[in-house]
Symmetry: C2
């Protein structure tokens, strides 16, 4: 079980420990709300909005407030456990960063389906492009938009 978290990455703490450490290091406090939000967040797959998380957390913790979810999501991002992503709609989404390999997003413009993709060559070229301009690359966001197989069929058959 430990093994699961350590696989391939040397000494990797589990997400809960990672967050506690972050909390301690920043002299913050670990509260039941934060624990609950973290739990639900980790059990999610995909890209959650604050609102979605709020709704789900509320099921087990009825008194939770929206603001707490917003604030905790920020903390999770700061701690390195979560990453903010933005697709077209005006809402910030969070995905699990911990233990996930880096990936970009391929989004169907028709049905919204979202595939996580990665291409080492693109990653490498991005660094080159940045270097070419004297920049030191620290991160990137790549969103590919297109038509998924199903929607291609749907539009040609009509």
């Amino acid at each position: 079980m430990e093994d699961f978290f350590e696989r391939g990455v040397g000494s990797m703490k589990d997400p809960y420990a990672l967050f506690s450490d972050f909390i301690a290091r920043k002299k913050l406090k670990m509260t039941p709300q934060r624990r609950q939000i973290l739990d639900v967040f980790l059990s999610e797959e995909g890209h959650v909005t604050s609102e979605e998380l709020y709704q789900k957390v509320k099921r087990d913790y009825a008194s939770i407030g929206q603001a707490t979810v917003y604030r905790t999501l920020k903390l999770l991002a700061d701690s390195g456990l979560a990453k903010a992503v933005e697709f077209g709609d005006g809402a910030v989404r969070y995905e699990i960063l911990y233990g996930q390999s880096h990936h970009d997003h391929l989004i169907c413009e028709e049905c919204g389906v979202n595939v996580e993709v990665v291409d080492p060559a693109i990653e490498r070229l991005q660094i080159e492009v940045a270097n070419r301009h004297g920049f030191k690359l620290t991160g990137h966001k790549l969103y590919l938009y297109g038509l998924c197989p199903a929607c291609q069929k749907r539009s040609t058959s009509s």
Copy 2:
């Protein structure tokens, strides 16, 4: 005469003609407000927010309303003259699409400076990645974040 223009410069109508045609095709109306907003937009370089454009348009057209600018910017995007881009802050920016070669953005996280970049290899690979998943690529957004040369120096010399 007609012939000459249509064959020689057929695909290169000027932006104003392009917009008028769009307006006509959609059975909309060309108004002084729209003309003025288009003028100011085309005279801008870089990435304008609706608010910025509103302020500048107001200098020559004091009675203009914010909503008109928002609405017109949407139209410009629909017509293909403008393109919406979003950097980190919560505001949509528009850049001129017409006659511009496609490019992505390399942004300094420290000072915010923004370089327009393009790499044909990356473009090509994006199509491949999409194809690999059965998608037909229709567009993409790539934002590279890093430290510009100046800010790298600044941080090492401190």
